[in-house]
Symmetry: C2
Subunit: 356 residues, 2 copies
């Protein structure tokens, strides 16, 4: 598996006439080595891939841990070896990744005398096409998401706070063996009008019309991401119309992909056109277009390569996994978002199956 991934990396490098790739993304390192314990917030390792070698560089806190799970052929060194090894690799053009900083560039140039070239998101592109094992893990994450949702519905009662409900979600996930893909978003009433609302101590009260739950599960490193918006029994006709419009907008996007791009000989599906279909439907009902993307790739990260948005240049291809999540947000009133995860194979398969 790791050998196959490295082979594809090397193929891309040689197409781009790059001699070596310095992988600085901790998630990309996990994808290429299987070691997923490096922080995504601080730089704790580099992976240096040349035509003939793969070397991991890290510090004394990690080196024993990494050595114990090495894939075949991968060598591990302390940071102190890094610049020497890069120089001695004879690489002339070294590619660096999207998260490589200006500060690192200065240091690497000074220490090696080499030039570094920003590559297109190369490993990220490989990651967008999932293999069977990855799909299996995402299915597990989606299944646990559905189970969690079903359990959490029983926990919603008057006077519960957003934070309390978020903590119930978290407990249900972890006690079932999953991890959080991200901090759950719970929004009551008018707070649901804020797409990334900061879960607060606000209590659910009688006059609230909406309960928005956006959460994701991580299983074996792979994420799900699902949003449901519940209408309370006090929901007005206006609230119901918003809900129904969002639900149909998601359905329109699903139908567009299903009719234009599935099956073995079908053309690739245009991600931007998919977003347009959903936005056009919202416009036809008198609502503004979605203030965020219609969807995004999902896998080792909860947001990854693939954007379903009006400006996206992505094509959807077989074994992409992504969300479709239209939303309507009316400041001061409330909002509705419905989000599910999908696998594009010979058909468009919906992976999260909780009722809407």
């Amino acid at each position: 598996m790791f050998e196959q991934r490295l082979r594809l990396v090397r193929k891309s490098l040689s197409e781009d006439k790059i001699d070596a790739l310095l992988v600085s993304s901790a998630v990309n390192i996990a994808y290429l080595t299987g070691y997923s314990n490096f922080s995504t917030r601080e730089r704790e390792a580099y992976l240096f891939v040349t035509e003939s070698s793969v070397s991991l560089f890290t510090d004394g806190r990690y080196i024993e841990g990494v050595r114990s799970i090495l894939p075949k052929g991968l060598k591990v060194f302390l940071y102190t070896e890094l610049f020497k090894k890069i120089r001695s690799s004879k690489a002339k053009r070294v590619g660096v990744e999207q998260n490589f900083t200006l500060s690192e560039l200065k240091k690497f140039k000074r220490k090696t005398g080499l030039n570094f070239t920003l590559t297109e998101p190369l490993v990220e592109k490989l990651r967008a096409v999932k293999d069977d094992k990855e799909i299996k893990n995402i299915r597990l994450a989606c299944k646990l998401t559905d189970k969690t949702y079903s359990d959490v519905l029983e926990n919603i009662r008057m006077n519960i706070t957003e934070k309390e409900l978020a903590w119930r979600i978290e407990r249900l996930i972890k006690e079932n063996g999953g991890e959080l893909a991200f901090e759950p978003i719970v929004a009551f009433g008018s707070s649901s009008a804020i797409p990334h609302h900061q879960t607060s101590n606000k209590k659910l009260i009688n006059s609230d019309q909406f309960v928005l739950l956006d959460f994701g599960v991580k299983v074996n490193g792979y994420c799900s991401d699902m949003t449901r918006t519940l209408l309370t029994k006090n929901a007005t006709n206006k609230a119901r119309k918003i809900y129904e419009t969002v639900r149909v907008a998601q359905q329109k996007a699903i139908e567009y992909i299903s009719t234009s791009g599935v099956g073995p000989d079908s053309p690739e599906v245009d991600a931007s056109k998919t977003a347009k279909v959903a936005n056009d439907y919202l416009a036809s009902k008198g609502f503004e277009k979605i203030p965020h993307g219609l969807g995004h790739g999902i896998g080792l990260e909860v947001h990854e390569e693939l954007r379903l948005s009006p400006k996206s240049k992505n094509k959807l291809v077989k074994n992409n996994v992504f969300t479709i999540e239209p939303g309507i947000y009316i400041p001061g009133f409330g909002g509705v978002r419905i989000e599910d995860d999908f696998l594009l194979s010979d058909n468009l398969e919906q992976l999260t199956k909780s009722p809407k």
Copy 2:
């Protein structure tokens, strides 16, 4: 508070002859605005600070949420306004931060025609000196850490797994109103020899000599970070000697700081010399030097500006908050780390007070 912080930022900028600072670190944005909901993993906002204005740029998911908690004088715009506003600011030299990527640099140059200058960690330096409110929050985090530790001791029993114990720690923290500062590290037996061990399904068994617990709490955005290593009743004399050596090494570092740098008229304390004192003590007992830093700053982030390590150039000054965490790790045998949080004021105050 925010005005005072901005004043200090502007003072640093003018000393460096920089016209404006583009803040890309989500934590620095939280420090300068009070809005802490942006991801630290993805770029979700920029703060643009000039001599006369402060503007926050973000996307449609956040804009309503940010507007609702704005400090006085701060303006919020959608990303679509970003390049136009930078150009119209008339700034000639724009400073960028440590996490600004090569990819961003190319885009910003192309879109604005300006040059961008990598600054020294400017906001990070300000953050290293805590104000009263920050110290109060760190005290709360440390207090909850001590309470959690005391409760978790009652949960350690034979056959519990590392993951189960980590989950107990997490539940205790969250049910007491805190958040995790980072995923707890739990290591049994020889796993304690790996400073950043990946908490596993390993069970505590009779022959294990060590139980290492490294966890931190976040309260109102501020972190604690504490490590305790327990010797089980099967611990050999060798294990006990290691423990005692680490405990005294921490004490030596504390004494060095206490005798060389506290009190209103004292000189600043050299961080690298402090690390040397601890390492020299380990060497005198026949052990290797610590394979990680002796300590690090702590605050909004669990690792921040200030490194207590042999190569550090930092000076410890009043109202710095940092860890002191010596460790000895014997591959295949086990390891001991003891870590506490300290505030340097007129004396060196230990903030985490759990028994050792």
